[in-house]
Symmetry: C2
């Protein structure tokens, strides 16, 4: 639970239902997490995931999207339920369960101003601060899930801009798997899946020669999924 609306702990006479968002981004070859400085007591000033109570008339997914919108300005973000955290003593004072959802966003797209207003900051995933409650546990679980999913779904594309180069994609997968990959084998594998399309443009920000830009082909992806394919990318 992240948004506590008064500043005194109270007795456990009611079950609260919250959602917390684990927001991943990818920037300059690094996988990053968006963390927030708590504005309310208790634990004011501590680092925390962003979250909110789930409203009575609100779907779970909608609650997650609402939090994302309020904090980053982004809509229709890729978001997936991770796990529900429900240890009876996870939040001292309240009895509160939290449905953790993780989001993948394209850092170049988010609304910087909104993020700043919320006292938020991007941290590299291998240099995270201590977070309140069980939030570090949530992040570690989400990282595991991300690694796992990246192996079987082309989930990584959510973290890149619409047009990206193969070296960029490789660098993302290296950040997720936390190990280096062979450029030839990676390219071979990714192209063999037939889910990215070569464009007639080059990105020249990282080399004189320039690297061709590609875009993700959702149609082919859907077809591949239906055919029962496995999608191991690296």
């Amino acid at each position: 639970m992240t948004q506590i609306t008064n500043d005194l702990y109270q007795v456990k006479e009611k079950m609260y239902v919250a959602t917390d968002c684990i927001i991943f981004g990818f920037h300059q070859g690094k996988l990053k997490l968006l963390v927030f400085k708590r504005k309310l007591e208790p634990l004011q000033g501590e680092w925390s995931l962003i979250g909110s109570f789930v409203q009575l008339d609100e779907d779970l997914e909608v609650a997650g999207q609402r939090v994302l919108k309020e904090t980053t300005g982004l809509e229709d973000v890729f978001m997936q339920q991770l796990k529900t955290y429900g240890r009876k003593d996870r939040d001292p004072g309240y009895r509160c369960i939290s449905i953790a959802q993780y989001a993948l966003i394209r850092i170049d797209e988010y609304d910087e101003k909104l993020v700043e207003e919320h006292g938020a900051r991007w941290y590299e995933i291998d240099d995270l601060p201590v977070l309140i409650l069980d939030h570090n546990e949530m992040v570690q679980d989400a990282l595991l899930q991300l690694k796992h999913n990246a192996r079987y779904k082309p989930i990584g594309f959510e973290l890149l801009p619409e047009k990206f180069t193969i070296p960029q994609l490789q660098s993302l997968y290296e950040a997720i798997y936390q190990r280096e990959l062979d450029a030839r084998n990676f390219r071979k594998k990714v192209l063999s899946l037939n889910v990215i399309e070569k464009l007639d443009e080059k990105d020249k920000t990282t080399s004189k020669r320039g690297a061709f830009l590609y875009k993700f082909n959702y149609d082919n992806y859907q077809k591949l999924l239906k055919s029962g394919y496995n999608f191991e990318i690296a």
Copy 2:
């Protein structure tokens, strides 16, 4: 939500938190699901998963185990959180989210009497009745998860008695994957993982020759897991 404690729908002024259990068993070569006949209004007499509200002073996992204990008499059952179902209109009348957990149990061990008292019945998974609310969706999601997990963890062992034969194990995997496997390749693969131990006993219930019994070796399993192994079994 399954256990509703009065018989009139009421307005949505409070968030309820329930847990529903998807109980899988394996018997005579078939993967089965334990379903229950609802005892209370609304929807009395309909087939349903078994569930309960989560108590204020109760961990989520404990709530699941409690339900299992009450309905099958079994304790320390293998159980895993599946997903939280939180559509705002999933339960007409109440606003109730449900944390679905799935359990794998050894059918020969469960307490038949307790199951009967609860008006429960085992259904083959490809012959399930219509269940209340979103329970059919929960079951389908759980089956997908089970298939997925069975591929990467030797999860299937939870569904077999402690001593089992390789043909039995194969038959279980065939039931989970819903396709036939090659006996030679299956045996080769399973033995190569080094997680089952041959015993000096045979099971002669299915053949004159008898098949050697094996038991699962949790220590080797843990070692293998730590070494980062993948565990694809079929």
